[in-house]
Structures are given as C-alpha cells and as structure tokens.
C-alpha cells in the first residue's frame, strides 16, 4: 500500500522542495527566528521583513493589497473570519447572507452558526451541472443582504463558478463579496480587482505549500476592517492575534511565487495527464463524469461508477490514494452534499471517486492508475447482480 499512487491533491499536496527550502531558511537562520511583533530589536524586525515579503508575493498572485492581508491558520480560518467577521462588522446594515449549497464546510458551518445567532442565510442551489447561476444569486439578494459568499472552484468536482459575474452583481447592489479560492488559486487566474472580490480566502497546502497557513485578503477600499474571531495581542491590525509563524508564512510566500511563475505551463501539463486518465477509463460501463463542462479545474476528475459498491470500489482501488468526496468528509461517512446537489443518488455518491492530480503526478503514474482503475472496476462489475436473472 505504501507504493500507492497519490491522486488526492485536492485534499492536500506534498511540499515542493523549493518551498521547503524557503521555510528552512527561516527555521535554520539564527537571525530570522524572531517574533515579528518584537519590533524593538533586529530579530523581530528581520522576521517582520520576511512576513512583508511574503505578503507581497501572496497579494501579487491574486492582485490584492499586501497591507490588507490577514494571515490565518488556513482557509478554514480565513472563511470563518471572512463570514463571521464581516457579518458582525456589518450587522447594523443587515443580517442576511447569500451563499451556495455547495460551499466548503467551513463556509456552510459558519453560515449555520450565524443562523443560530439570528442571521438569515439563503443557500442558492447549483444546476445539475454544478454551476451556480449569477442570476440566482442576484435574485436572492435583499435590502438587508450584507455579504455574498461563493467559492471559486469546488473541492469535489473542480467546477469553476463565474465569480466575476457574481462580483459585478454584488458591486452593483453594494453588497460585500467573499470568494473561497482555496482550490482555485494557482490553477486558474484569481484577480480580486477584475473579479470585484472584496474578501478572498486562500491557503498554501493545496498548492504544494505548508499545511496550517492561509490568508484572508481584504480589498482595502471597500473593506479594510472586520471583527476578529479570536481575541488577543492586537497583532495584524487587531484582526487576528497570535505570534505569526514566520516559516509558515515564508513557505506560503514561496508557494505563491512558484504559482505565479509556473502556473500556465504546469496547468497545461496536468490537464494533459487528467485528460489521459479520463480517456483511459471513460469507456468502462457505468463510468460517468460529475461536474462536466469546460469550466472546471484541470486537476480534478470526479467520476461515478455504477454497478460497483462504493466501499468495495475503494477497496479494489487501494493502490490509488484517492478520495470519496472532499477530505473533510472522509471521516464523517456522510454522502457528499455537493454530489447530492448535482442530483446523484446516495448509492451512486458512495460509488463516486475524486481523482485529483498535481505537481508531482507523472505520466507513468497515470498510465498505472488507468490499469489499476480498469482492473478494479472490471472485477467488481463482473460480480454485479443485474447481469443475472434470478
């Protein structure tokens, strides 16, 4: 099993050696370990310098403002901060939020928590292809709507939403717009200005960066300040307390720098592999693609396999490290609400697999994956009851 092929990049990705080196520089250098808040001495100031450089790199990739970036422990925290923080900060203007039914749990659960606090939330449903119509978002707006939150790319299907269209609608209605770009950053262009995004959540570990670090980028003109969700030492302009993890932040900076430089060629390469994988399996009976359409990430293939029981399917494909839904769902055992929203039955959801590729996926791995996939599916389907008449 240790020789299994990793096809779960959408859950997390291995660390790029160049990112590792950037982190190690902070971890080893006896001059760079300071607390960035300790600006009374050079250790602290040098550390603050590392953080500032990373902020420029991160903001650079998403066309954000480095001075309006808030470092977090990941996209989960960034989403919580964006939604709960904005809701609290804007509560006087209204208590209604619009989001979609296929957001990441960290958005949905934040919204549910707000509902328990007296806010109202409209969950817009996607169509059967997984696309959320900007018109449906607009229709959900009310005079007391203070925030719209729509993810850029879905973590299960890779489906890309038309956030620029939603951004234009929000701007026209003067409503703040949050985008969870944890899955899309570095895989498609993310431009806060062009997309009219006011708050953007990202993280590093989905792009071969370190786990445990992310950022919320604020637009700065439309929103410069939100209520913190943690309370403490006043770091990060009072929006997020706690000692800044300099090596993690340096790692995230390096991660996004690499994306800035290599995204185009790298995405083309991965798309080629992904398509090769799909072409290798799509003729199998009962194999269907979820969230089809051109508007999806080059890195994700979400397929359902009819006539193969889900657990046995995963058992049969043990030499492929993949996911039955989003990683967050792996331990819960509940059928994916994202695939449900696409109209799949619970049994078919159980027999759905997310294969996600990334920087270190090779052609040889893909060819091996095709063989394994075919062998497993064919083995199970040969058992399928439908073929026998009782």
């Amino acid at each position: 099993m240790s020789g299994s092929i990793y096809l779960d990049y959408a859950a997390t990705a291995p660390l790029d050696p160049r990112v590792r080196d950037a982190m190690l520089a902070c971890m080893d250098d006896r001059a760079l370990f300071g607390n960035p808040s300790s600006i009374t001495h050079s250790y602290g100031r040098r550390a603050a310098g590392v953080v500032e450089k990373a902020a420029h790199r991160v903001a650079g990739l998403v066309n954000g403002a480095p001075e309006n970036l808030v470092w977090t422990s990941g996209a989960t925290e960034a989403n919580n901060l964006a939604i709960v923080g904005t809701a609290d900060f804007r509560a006087i203007r209204g208590r209604h939020i619009v989001t979609t039914a296929i957001e990441h749990k960290s958005v949905l659960e934040s919204c549910k928590w707000l509902e328990s606090q007296g806010y109202q939330v409209t969950y817009v449903h996607p169509d059967r292809s997984g696309a959320v119509s900007p018109g449906a978002i607009e229709a959900a707006l009310r005079p007391d709507t203070i925030l719209v939150s729509v993810m850029h790319a879905n973590n299960e299907t890779g489906m890309i939403q038309d956030v620029a269209a939603v951004g234009a609608i929000c701007r026209a209605h003067d409503v703040l717009f949050h985008v969870d770009a944890a899955q899309s950053v570095g895989k498609v262009a993310v431009d806060m200005g062009a997309m009219q995004v006011d708050l953007l959540s990202i993280n590093a570990h989905k792009s071969c960066g370190p786990k445990g670090v992310g950022a919320l980028c604020l637009d700065g003109e439309r929103i410069k300040r939100i209520t913190p969700i943690m309370h403490g030492g006043g770091q990060q302009r009072g929006m997020r307390p706690g000692t800044l993890p300099v090596h993690q932040i340096a790692g995230m900076g390096a991660t996004l720098k690499i994306l800035t430089e290599e995204m185009d060629t790298e995405v083309a390469r991965i798309r080629g592999l992904r398509d090769r994988l799909w072409h290798g399996i799509k003729d199998l009976p009962g194999v269907t693609l979820n969230g089809a359409g051109e508007q999806r990430l080059a890195t994700i293939l979400n397929v359902s396999v009819a006539q193969a029981e889900g657990e046995s399917l995963r058992f049969a494909l043990q030499d492929l490290a993949l996911s039955g839904g989003s990683a967050c769902n792996s331990s819960s055992g509940e059928p994916s609400y994202v695939l449900r929203a696409l109209g799949l039955s619970d049994v078919l959801i159980e027999s759905s697999l997310r294969l996600s590729l990334g920087r270190f996926t090779t052609l040889a791995e893909i060819d091996q994956a095709v063989l394994s996939f075919r062998r497993g599916v064919e083995y199970l389907q040969a058992f399928a009851p439908a073929e026998v008449a009782v």
């Binding site: 049994v347 083995y379 399928a384």
Partner: protein, 125 residues
Amino acid sequence: MAVRQYSPAVDEYFWRPAPRVHGNDIAGAAGSIESGTQVVVAAELAAGRLKNVGFRLFACPHIMACCNWLAEQLEGEAPEALQQVLVQDLRQKFDIPVEKAGKLLILKDALDACYNSYQQRSTKG
C-alpha cells in the same frame, strides 16, 4: 481516529472469486442496489449436493470476502448447509465490525432464500 482496516482474511478472499460458471438450479436473493447491498446466490444440484455455488454481489469488501469463502465451503455440501451458515462464524473469521450486522443479515437472507428455493423445488419435483 476511526481507521477502517480490513482483516487479512478479507484481503485474501475479496480477490478470490468462485469460478465464474454459476449453477442456477436453485437461487436466492436479498437486498437491493438502491439500499446499498444486494446478495444473489445460485447453485446447481448434482446428486443432491451443491455444485458451482456462485454469488452476484453489490456489497462491501467484508460481504464480498464472506461470499467468496462460502462458495468454496458450500461446494459439494448438502443443500441444508445453506441454512446452517452461522453469521457469528463469518463475523469471527473475517473480523467484521458490528456496524455491518445489517449487511450480514442480507447475506443470511439470501442463503435462506436459496434454501427455500431448494425446498420448493423438492416439493414440486
């Protein structure tokens, strides 16, 4: 952290299917794909004994392994063996977690249905 690990017996028998030629003198089924588990069992009768016992399955690895093993075990046995299979034995041999009790009962139901079809056939014949 609830890590689902499979016993070596499951690892072994999941991949050891009964021969593909299945008899269908007698047969029984239980469950459905919609409910997540379906077990179909069929066999020939040769000199009053089970022959070419086979399964059609939409089932989890534990049930798959059980059935592959049962196909071996039942071969050449008297039809009564179908209803003498003890869920408890399967649970032990394959180290099946309690939450799968329902699935084991579907298997049991299929075996019983198969034995019923044998009895009906005997009554008719």
